[in-house]
Symmetry: C2
Subunit: 177 residues, 2 copies
């Protein structure tokens, strides 16, 4: 075999290896950042956080989870006791499109595909204009198995949540269980 | 003061102390046991377990959580990979009565009162007749702030869950988030 052929095969193999790996390696969703500057990585580990509450509309099944700092604050009586959530509090609303179960022995809606993670984090110094909370929305597309940062700064964000300013901008109480 | 009076006051104080404490001390829900012999204490800590999935009917908002052993098994591909959940797996379906939110800027159902914790635990030696799973139902009454073990052995239990025997008797997959 000539030297040039060997080199060509070598380069082709290297190219294949690189593209092959790129094609199968999953997205690092935690590299995403919202237009408002909120890093998804600030919420690293939310997959395993404890439940705050649940909700549903005709379009979405929701579970609200929070990080240990915020769960501890909830358990200490915040915000019902008039105290605000401490800096470092993080909360994520997980949203799934619903579908009718075809297995259950009764009529029940269950998650179809995951659609969105709506996130909030408390940092009084970073977000002084919105009650200390930063808001962002990360969308998920099941077909491509990819997350993207929503192009809106933060969905309705602080505008909506100002309705519950007296509860430190958080709609959901920690639900009994 | 006479000796008898002192004694009477002493007894009265002791009685008050005992009953006073009994009146304000919260229920130890973990002392409950189902008619089928499942101890609620087997599920100690479920309040902080990670989310598996969610569901809703017209009557109930549900969040399904599982202990770290079972979450780890889910993440390893069980039961889709044909393997059963390991002994020690525990899963709890939290159920709330829904109500319409009066605060949100859109129509949304949110939890009203907590109503039930439906629990399952895997122990092949203890529950050989029901695929290795033990089932129980603990009801919660908001008015008295008390849990009780449901008088049925386990709600529909193994009878219902046999519909998904091929998925090791578990309806809900671990949902993407």
């Amino acid at each position: 075999m000539e030297r040039k052929s060997k080199l060509t095969i070598g380069i082709a193999t290297a190219v294949l290896a690189v593209f092959g790996v790129a094609a199968v390696s999953p997205q690092d969703k935690y590299s995403l950042q919202s237009p408002g500057g909120i890093a998804f990585s600030d919420f690293r580990g939310y997959e395993d956080w404890a439940v705050v509450s649940s909700a549903r509309t005709d379009q979405v099944l929701k579970v609200i989870v929070a990080n240990p700092t915020m769960i501890q604050a909830y358990k200490a009586g915040i915000p019902g006791n008039g105290q605000p959530f401490p800096d470092g509090s993080k909360i994520v609303k997980l949203q799934w499109k619903p579908k009718k179960s075809t297995e259950a022995p009764f009529a029940v809606d269950v998650p179809d595909v995951f659609t969105q993670a709506f996130v909030m984090e408390k940092d009084s110094k970073r977000f002084p204009k919105s009650g200390g909370w930063g808001y962002a929305l990360f969308n998920y597309e099941a077909a491509s198995d990819k997350f993207t940062a929503d192009s809106s700064p933060s969905d309705c964000g602080n505008t909506c949540h100002s309705a519950v300013k007296a509860k430190d901008y958080i709609f959901h109480p920690y639900q009994k269980r």
